[in-house]
């Protein structure tokens, strides 16, 4: 049975991707970060192939424990890694609204950019044992420097972190593509999210379930041009980054 790990799977796109992968017959390791969310536990009741593992991508110890947990169940292998978790909250960090919360820039970087790289580093021994070797990363159009539309009022940390993440992915790609790894970089579009106050962002355009149904096709299909590192969105459009 093929195996996948998905980070930030408590809700939103991560949860929707977990459902899609379960439906596709995978053993799914869903990264649990939010203690007070039980949607994964609900899903587990009807899916014995779902394994919920505590996973904070900002902590090497947490990732190492996750590697151990996965390894025990899969006999030391992993086919697909999906880096989806992200820190997105509102922060006061923009010009002309001093003082900027500069530490927030580091926090975003550490979760959103270093997190995916830590994840790859620590799961590599398991991924090496798989024929699949597929690394998937959920990025965002805010990483597209040429198309930047952020203005005053919108915080700096999140977009900056996504460009750093793309750079980390590029360096990993240069290193690991020659070692038979394949990469997917994905922009999911403006999805309805559960906000920090518990409300759902209804003004957003897309349901994470619909996006996940598209994303899994992109993540799972083998491409004829694996040598190109590109970012694809939910309409299969290519974005510059």
């Amino acid at each position: 049975m093929k195996s996948v790990i998905i980070t930030g799977a408590d809700r939103g796109l991560g949860l929707s991707l977990s459902k899609e992968y379960l439906n596709s017959g995978y053993t799914v390791f869903a990264g649990k970060y939010l203690e007070d969310y039980t949607l994964l536990e609900d899903l587990q009741e009807t899916n014995k192939n779902l394994h919920i593992i505590k996973l904070d991508v900002d902590s090497r110890e947490s990732i190492s424990s996750a590697v151990e947990a996965v390894s025990k169940i899969t006999n030391n292998t992993l086919d697909v890694l999906i880096s989806n978790a992200a820190l997105m909250g509102e922060v006061n960090c923009t010009l002309r609204k001093p003082p900027m919360d500069i530490e927030a820039v580091w926090r975003s970087f550490s979760v959103n950019a270093l997190g995916p790289a830590r994840l790859v580093e620590l799961f590599l021994p398991l991924l090496d044992n798989s024929k699949r070797k597929r690394l998937c990363f959920v990025s965002s159009e805010v990483s597209c420097i040429n198309l930047m539309r952020h203005r005053i009022g919108e915080g700096f940390p999140y977009p900056m972190s996504k460009s750093s993440m793309n750079m980390g992915i590029r360096i990993m790609f240069n290193d690991l593509y020659p070692q038979d790894y394949t990469f997917r970089l994905y922009h999911p579009g403006w999805m309805k999210r559960i906000q920090h106050d518990g409300s759902r962002s209804e003004e957003a355009m897309y349901d994470p379930d619909d996006i996940a149904a598209h994303a899994i096709k992109y993540f799972e299909t083998d491409l004829k041009d694996e040598q190109r590192l590109v970012m694809i969105d939910f309409r299969s459009q290519e974005w510059p980054f």
């Binding site: 090497r60 923009t94 010009l95 002309r96 001093p98 003082p99 900027m100 500069i102 530490e103 820039v105 580091w106 970087f109 950019a113 270093l114 790289a117 830590r118 790859v120 580093e121 590599l124 805010v142 990483s143 420097i145 040429n146 930047m148 539309r149 952020h150 203005r151 005053i152 919108e154 700096f156 977009p159 900056m160 972190s161 996504k162 460009s163 750093s164 793309n166 750079m167 980390g168 590029r170 360096i171 990993m172 240069n174 290193d175 690991l176 980054f241």
Partner: protein, 213 residues
């Protein structure tokens, strides 16, 4: 005209200071010689690299080095910009300049290491257009420059040796190029917004080449 340079860590930085002085500018250096009233141009020379930034993903990320480089190139850079923006607001030049490297271009880099430097600069590359989206309406312009040097940034023997092999521009020439790139206007024609190069956020190197982000 008054210019503020954030750092004097490298030969390039020092050359740049002396060129601006030679050309009649009043030069302030952050932390050494602080501006009292206004500045027309702000030049952030933060461009820090670590000799230890050579690990591959299989070696394991050196998070201490990553933080050290990020602190200098991103967090400190942002603090400096916030700190000196009020001086720029009072000046008439309203030009902001940064240093980077084509090695930190997501599109161009062919390296399999250098996570600390490249990821830090990629964050800054993302910041530049956001800064301009906020400030451009008030007449601000931006310059991003790749000095094409690594000898200015490091002094250990190995780096010096590498530079002997790779160096194509010496610090002085590179600083002369930076001066011209920083002070000149970029092409505009008949107020046509489609023919206004200031609207494009680009970076050019010491040989005049434009690089992709």
């Amino acid at each position: 005209m008054a210019v503020l340079i954030t750092k004097q860590n490298t030969i390039f930085d020092k050359e740049l200071k002396s060129i601006f002085e030679r050309e009649g500018y009043t030069v302030f250096i952050a932390g050494e010689n602080e501006p009292t009233g206004y500045i027309d141009m702000y030049i952030d020379t933060s461009n820090y690299r670590s000799d230890k930034d050579t690990f591959l993903i299989r070696d394991g990320l050196d998070e201490k080095i990553i933080r050290e480089v990020y602190e200098e190139n991103v967090l400190n850079s942002m603090r400096l910009l916030e700190n000196y923006l009020p001086y720029l607001e009072k000046g008439t030049g309203k030009r902001i300049c940064f240093l980077t490297s084509h090695e930190a271009s997501i599109n161009e880099t062919t390296h399999d290491n250098g996570y600390a430097y490249k990821m830090s600069k990629a964050a800054m590359h993302n910041l530049y257009p956001m800064v301009m989206n906020i400030l451009a309406d008030d007449g601000y312009t931006i310059r991003i420059y790749d000095p094409l040097l690594s000898n200015g940034h490091n002094t250990n023997e190995q780096t010096k040796k590498q530079c002997k092999i790779n160096n194509i521009v010496c610090d002085k020439l590179s600083a002369e190029g930076a001066f011209n790139y920083f002070v000149r206007k970029r092409g505009t024609e008949h107020d046509d917004p489609l023919r206004n190069d200031e609207n494009r956020i680009v970076f050019r190197d010491a040989l005049g080449r434009e690089h992709t982000w």
